[in-house]
C-alpha cells in the first residue's frame, strides 16, 4: 500500500512539473501551429524574389540517384542564379529517423523528402509541419503529370487522419515496381499467367533448381513477396482501399486469405530456397545474380546491380496474374519532395519541386539510369532498364499499381512483417494471419 501511495505521489510530482510533451513552451514557434495555407493563383516569378537559400533534405545518395539530383540542382541554380540550394543528403534509414525531429525544429529545412504513408508524411501533416501544394499543383499542372494512384499516395487529409485522399503534399521523381526478375538462360519463355508461373516453379523444383530466391531474415522482403501474390488474388481496389483505410475495407476477406494460402503453399511445395527465413536479403539476390535460382521477386532498386552482374542474362516482368492484359503490381514512387510549412519562400521551393519533375528532369532521370514516375517520360534505349520502363508504362496504362501494405498505419510495418514471418514459418494458419492483421488494424482504427 505504501508503495502504491509512493507511486501515485511520484506520478503526481512528475506530472506537476512541466506541461505535456510537444506543447509549445517558448511561444516563438508559430509557424508550426498555424494552419498551412495554399493560396497561390499563378506561376510565381522566381527571379524577382531576390536572394533565396533553399535548405533541402533528401536521400538521393546512391549511384544514379545521386547523379540525377546533383545534375538537377546544378541546372536549377544556373537557371535561377539568385537561388542557392543547401543540400543535406542522408541515407534512407537515417532520414527516416531524423526527419520528424528536423521538421519540428526551429531551423526546419525548406524542402523535405518525406516517406509516403501515415508513419512519416501523415504525422508531419498532423503536426502541421508541411504545406499543402494543391495551389502549385494547379498552376504547374502537376495533377496531369502523374497517374491518379501516384497522386493519391502523395495526398493526405489535412488533419493527418488518413492518406490516399485529401490535399496533395508533395511530388515524386521516380517510379518503383516490385516485379519478378528472371534468369533468361533458364527461363527462355517467361510465363504469361499465374498458372503458367506456378507450373514453371514446379518444373524448376523437379529439376533440382531453386524456383524463387528469397531472403527474409530482414523482415521487410516478406511484405513484397506476399503482396505481389496478393495483387493476383485480390481486387486491386480492395488492396488500395485497405491501405488508404477507406470505410469498410478489411484485411480479413476470402481474397486476402487466398493470397496467404497460396504463398504458404509455395513454402510447402519448396518453391522458395530452403531456409529462406534465415537468409539475408542481400545474400539472396546475390545468389540469384550468381545464377542460382530462376526467379527473384524484388523491386526496381536492384536493376542497376543485377544488370551489372548478370548482363543480358536477366529479365524483368510483372508477376503474371489471371489476365495478361491487365497486370497488377506492388509499386509506387520514390519519397516525395514536400514543402515545410515554415519555408520562408514557398514559391522558390515549389519552383524547385516543379523543376525536379518536369520534362527536362525526366530526361536527366533516364540518362542517369533511373525510372521517371511521370507520365510520357522518354524510354531508355535498351537492356533491363528498357524492360522495366516498358512494365511501368504498361502498369500506368491499365492503372495497375497497388500501394505498399506497410503504409497502412504507423505501426503496420512491424505488425505485418512479423505476421508474415509467422505465416511463412507455419506458426499461423492463413486464416489466423488475416484475422490477426485485421485486429491490429482495427486497434489503430479505433484509437485514432
Amino acid at each position: 500500500m505504501k508503495r502504491l501511495i509512493a507511486a501515485v505521489a511520484l506520478t503526481a510530482l512528475v506530472a506537476g512539473c512541466g506541461g505535456a510533451p510537444g506543447s509549445d513552451d517558448s511561444g516563438d514557434n508559430d509557424a508550426a501551429n498555424a494552419t498551412p495555407t495554399a493560396t497561390v493563383a499563378e506561376k510565381p516569378d522566381i527571379a524577382a524574389l531576390g536572394d533565396v537559400t533553399l535548405t533541402v533534405w533528401d536521400q538521393e545518395v546512391r549511384g544514379g540517384q545521386r547523379k540525377q539530383i546533383e545534375e538537377l540542382n546544378k541546372q536549377f541554380e544556373a537557371k535561377y542564379p539568385n537561388v542557392k540550394i543547401e543540400r543535406v543528403a542522408k541515407s534512407f534509414p537515417d532520414l527516416l529517423k531524423t526527419v520528424k525531429l528536423a521538421a519540428s525544429g526551429d531551423d526546419a529545412p525548406d524542402v523535405i523528402q518525406a516517406n509516403q504513408g501515415l508513419g512519416i508524411m501523415g504525422e508531419l501533416v498532423k503536426a502541421k509541419l508541411l504545406r499543402p501544394v494543391t495551389d502549385y499543383a494547379e498552376v504547374y499542372g502537376w495533377n496531369d503529370r502523374w497517374s491518379q494512384t501516384l497522386l493519391d499516395a502523395n495526398s493526405v487529409e489535412p488533419d493527418g487522419s488518413r492518406f490516399g485522399s485529401g490535399d496533395l503534399y508533395g511530388v515524386s521523381q521516380m517510379g518503383e515496381i516490385v516485379g519478378v526478375f528472371y534468369n533468361k538462360e533458364k527461363v527462355p519463355n517467361p510465363p504469361a499467367t499465374l498458372t503458367e508461373f506456378e507450373a514453371s516453379l514446379q518444373e524448376a523444383k523437379d529439376e533440382g533448381d531453386v524456383p524463387i530466391q528469397f531472403g527474409n531474415v530482414d523482415k521487410w522482403p516478406g511484405i513484397h513477396n506476399f503482396e505481389t501474390v496478393l495483387a493476383q488474388t485480390a481486387d486491386k481496389q480492395a488492396i488500395r482501399d485497405f491501405v488508404f483505410s477507406k470505410e469498410g475495407a478489411s484485411f480479413d476477406t476470402p481474397e486476402f486469405v487466398a493470397a496467404a494460402q497460396k504463398i504458404s503453399e509455395w513454402v510447402e511445395k519448396g518453391y522458395f530456397n530452403k531456409n529462406f527465413d534465415g537468409t539475408g536479403y542481400d545474400p539472396a539476390w546475390q545468389d540469384f545474380a550468381k545464377g542460382k535460382g530462376r526467379y527473384l521477386i524484388a523491386g526496381t532498386w536492384l536493376v542497376a546491380d543485377l544488370e551489372e552482374q548478370m548482363g543480358d542474362k536477366v529479365g524483368f516482368m510483372l508477376m503474371p496474374g489471371e489476365d495478361p492484359e491487365s497486370p497488377v503490381a506492388l509499386g509506387g514512387e520514390s519519397l516525395a519532395f514536400t514543402i515545410s510549412s515554415s519555408a520562408e519562400q514557398p514559391d522558390a521551393a515549389a519552383a524547385y519541386l516543379d523543376f525536379l519533375t518536369d520534362a527536362n528532369a525526366a530526361q536527366v532521370l533516364v540518362d542517369t539510369g533511373n525510372l521517371p514516375a511521370m507520365k510520357d517520360a522518354p524510354t531508355p534505349s535498351g537492356g533491363l532498364s528498357a524492360e522495366v520502363a516498358e512494365a511501368w508504362n504498361k502498369l500506368n496504362e491499365v492503372d495497375g499499381v497497388v500501394p505498399y501494405l506497410d503504409w497502412t498505419t504507423p505501426t503496420f510495418y512491424d505488425d505485418i512483417s512479423a505476421a508474415i514471418q509467422e505465416l511463412l514459418g507455419g506458426k499461423q494458419s492463413p486464416e489466423e494471419f488475416t484475422q490477426g492483421v485485421q485486429e491490429k488494424y482495427s486497434e489503430w482504427a479505433q484509437s485514432r
Binding site: 506520478t11 512528475v14 510537444g22 531456409n275 527465413d277 512479423a418
Partner: protein, 306 residues
Amino acid sequence: MGAVPLGVAGEAGRGGGDRPPGEPRLVGYLYLLPAAVVFAAFVLYPLYNAARISLYDWDGLTVGTWTGLSNYADVFADEELRAAFLHSLILLFFYAVLPLLIGLLLAGVMARARVRGLALFRTILFLPQVIALVVVAVMWKMVYDPANGSLNRFLGWFGIEGKSWLGDFDLALPAVGLIGTWVYFGLAMVLLSAGVQKIPTSLYDAARVDGAGAVREFFVVTLPALRGEIAVSLTLTTIAALRNFDIVYITTGGGPGNATTVPAYQVFTRAFETGQVGSAAAVGIVLTAIVFVISLGINQLAERGT
C-alpha cells in the same frame, strides 16, 4: 556563522578547532559540483524527462495526451512487450551466466597450468570485446547465413545438415544469445584470471598437501577467492544483456515474428519509427528499474558472502 565572534571563527579556522580531522566540510560539496552538474544535466534530467513523457500518449510531434500509468500497464498487458522482457531474461543466461562459466573454467585452468604464450591466448580470447558490436553482429549474420555461412559449411563437412539459425522460431533466440556469449566470455575470463593471479600460491600448496585434486582445489580455493571478480563480471554482463540492442537490430530485427524482440529494440522502434514515444519511455523506465534491481541483487549477494 554570523553570530560567532570573528576572533573565535578565525581561531577555529586556523587551528582546526573542535572539528575532528576528516570530518567533511561544506566546501567539499563545492568540489563535487562540476561532476554533479554534468551528471544532473546528462543523466538525471533526461531520466526525469523520460519519466514525464512515459505518462503521456505522445507521437513525438503533436501535443501529448495525459494517460497516467496506462503505458506502464501496457508493459505488462501487451503481449509483444511482455515477450520482449521474457526474451531479455533468457538472454541473461547467454550474456551473463554462460560467459561466467566459461571464464571460470579458463581461469581455473590458468591457475593450475602455466601455459606458454599465455598472454597471446588471453589477447585472442579477449579480442571480441574490442570489436564494435555492430561489426560483431554483421559478422555473425554472415556466419549464420544458411546457404553460404561458415557455420553451416563447417557442419556440412561432418554430414550434418545446417539449420536456418536466425530464421527458425526456436533457434533464433539462442543463436542471438550465443553471439553475446562469444563477446562477453573474454571479459569474464580477463577479470577472473586477474583475480586468480592475486590468490597466494601457498593456498594451493596447502590444498595439495591436504590431497585435493584439481576439481576440489577449484571449489575450495579458486572460487571463494574470486567472489568480488564474479560480482563485477556478472554486473557488467547483466547490464549488457538487458540493454542489448545492436545485435538484435542487425541480425534479426526482432524476428522471426517477434521471437527475438527485446526491450531496448522496442524502445527504439516505438520512439523513432512508430511514433509511440510515451510507450517507449515507459519501457525504458521499466528496463532501467529492472537493471537497477538485478545489479543491486548481485552486489548484495557478493557482499553478504564476504
